[in-house]
């Protein structure tokens, strides 16, 4: 049975049916999924969840479908790593990495939201799905559309990394590169969604899509032994993930799955695209849009759709926000790779570098549990680090050549 009542405007509370809608037609506020929490409370339990498969749909009562998932049923339940090496390096006691760089099928947290959105698209009877993307979302919509026998169109800025472009085209989708940044692409896609009547994962299906992000939060809690961490550092693009992690923990408390706790949310952006961290630092809830200028393309959104509510989520949780330069984010990527053996993309570099900065600033305490949200895979953004790592040492194929290097013990940069 379904626990979804319908959609509801987050601003004015006006109700809407379960359709491909995302904006309140009266006050223009965002719509979100409205659940029958009292009914969910009667059936959900830790035991029920634990009895199910290790994927995001183990929390299906809290996800926005009427039936079973038809796309991406194996997505999620990625590792939560106790990052002792990185903890030592950063001088903190208890540190974890939630590693969605190995999510299935396309190595980013977007697989979660796309599984929710495309399963919903099928329930609503759509044959064509689409998205506006900074890369990872496009990869996932293209891949999962194949699985769901849906036609797909992917709209992306034309300056994205090769890994993101080829990692979309390979699935035989329709890739449209746009001369412009993500915000231009997104605006154009709003018009296309209206005219062509397609299901855009992050536009007219946004209320359903965004709910998929909650599973990232549920998993952190379950993997910590059914308790919320004290601090979570989250990368921010449109600002949806950080809100949904907060919502996930609140739901688990309200449903009696975990004890009451105070988890602080910390938002991370690249300085070249930091409208949300800027608002938090200025103690304002007004987001001033910017034109992004950073190598962290996957989080380069200058006019974030969920900016206002992400500022609110951060402030209400007692957390804060910080941003880092492109050089710092590259160091962040290298730091995570060299301490934990995890190769993340630019957004992950931002999150690691912001964590480091907040610890140094004394804003993240050294003696309480911290989770770093790693949401994407480094193999997709090789350009960012290509010239920042040592080149392989090339020698002739004989033991003498190798002995010669070992004797010199010099770093070869040939």
């Amino acid at each position: 049975m379904s626990f979804v009542k319908g959609l509801k405007c987050r601003e004015c509370g006006k109700g809407y049916p379960k359709e491909a809608l995302h904006v309140c037609s009266f006050c223009f506020g965002p719509l979100e999924v409205d659940y029958e929490y009292e009914e969910i409370k009667k059936v959900i339990s830790r035991e029920l969840i634990e009895s199910r498969g290790k994927n995001m749909w183990r929390y299906k009562e809290l996800l926005p479908l009427d039936g079973e998932p038809t796309v991406g049923a194996q997505v999620g339940y990625t590792p939560l790593i106790k990052a002792d090496n990185l903890a030592k390096k950063l001088g903190v006691e208890e540190l974890y990495v939630k590693n969605d760089s190995v999510n299935f099928p396309t190595f980013s947290f977007k697989d979660r939201v796309v599984s929710a959105a495309l399963s919903k698209a099928k329930e609503l009877g759509f044959k064509t799905v689409a998205c506006a993307t900074t890369g990872n979302l496009g990869n996932s919509v293209a891949a999962q559309a194949v699985q769901g026998n849906l036609e797909s169109y992917i709209f992306m800025p034309s300056n994205l990394e090769q890994g993101k472009v080829i990692g979309t085209s390979i699935y035989g989708t329709n890739v449209i590169g746009i001369n412009g940044n993500y915000d231009n692409v997104n605006r154009m896609c709003s018009e296309i969604a209206d005219k062509y009547g397609w299901a855009f994962a992050n536009i007219n299906l946004r209320p359903y899509y965004a709910e998929g992000s909650k599973t990232y939060g549920y998993e952190i809690v379950e993997q910590l032994g059914w308790k919320a961490p004290k601090h979570v550092v989250v990368p921010m693009a449109g600002g949806s993930l950080i809100i949904k992690i907060g919502k996930a923990i609140k739901e688990m408390i309200d449903l009696g799955l975990i004890e009451k706790s105070n988890m602080a949310l910390y938002g991370a952006q690249a300085s070249g695209s930091s409208p949300i961290t800027t608002a938090v630092k200025k103690e304002s809830d007004v987001i001033a849009p910017v034109i992004p200028n950073t190598i962290a393309h996957s989080i380069a959104i200058g006019n974030p759709a969920d900016g206002y509510y992400s500022v609110k989520a951060i402030n209400n949780s007692g957390g804060c926000a910080e941003d880092v330069s492109d050089d710092e984010l590259v160091e962040g990527i290298k730091l995570l790779a060299s301490t934990e053996g995890i190769f993340t993309e630019t957004a992950g570099g931002v999150t690691v570098a912001v964590t480091k900065k907040l610890i140094e600033q004394g804003k993240l305490p050294r003696d309480e549990s911290i989770v770093i949200c790693i949401t994407g895979n480094g193999l997709k953004t090789l350009e960012a680090v290509m010239d920042k790592v040592e080149k392989p040492c090339v020698i002739d194929a004989n033991i003498e050549s190798f002995n010669a290097i070992m004797e010199k013990r010099e770093v070869c940069t040939a």
Partner: protein, 94 residues
């Protein structure tokens, strides 16, 4: 003062389909009041019960967001152009 106001698609039902209307006023607030006089129902769509412009509606005066000026007290001059833009439904290109 007489200013041009660009109307987004979802609100054109209030202006008989017009994309642009000419309105009098010396400030954004007066422009909104006069929009209501000329096209009944406008104010409830644009402002909340306290008279504040709704959070997901952006007002641009000659391409500048009025939240970074004096909000509804921002003065307007003859010939100015005002755009009303739903923040999520369409947004705006910088």
């Amino acid at each position: 003062m007489s200013v041009k106001v660009r109307i987004p698609t979802p609100l054109r039902s209030l202006t008989n389909g017009s994309e642009e209307v000419i309105v009098e006023g010396n400030s954004i607030k007066e422009v909104i009041d006069n929009l209501e006089t000329n096209h009944k129902g406008f104010k409830a769509r644009l402002c909340d019960e306290n008279g504040q412009i709704r959070r997901f509606i952006n007002f641009y005066l000659n391409d500048e967001d009025i939240r970074f000026k004096d909000n509804q007290e921002t003065t307007v001059n003859d010939g100015d152009q005002i755009s009303i833009v739903p923040a999520i439904a369409g947004g705006r290109t910088l």
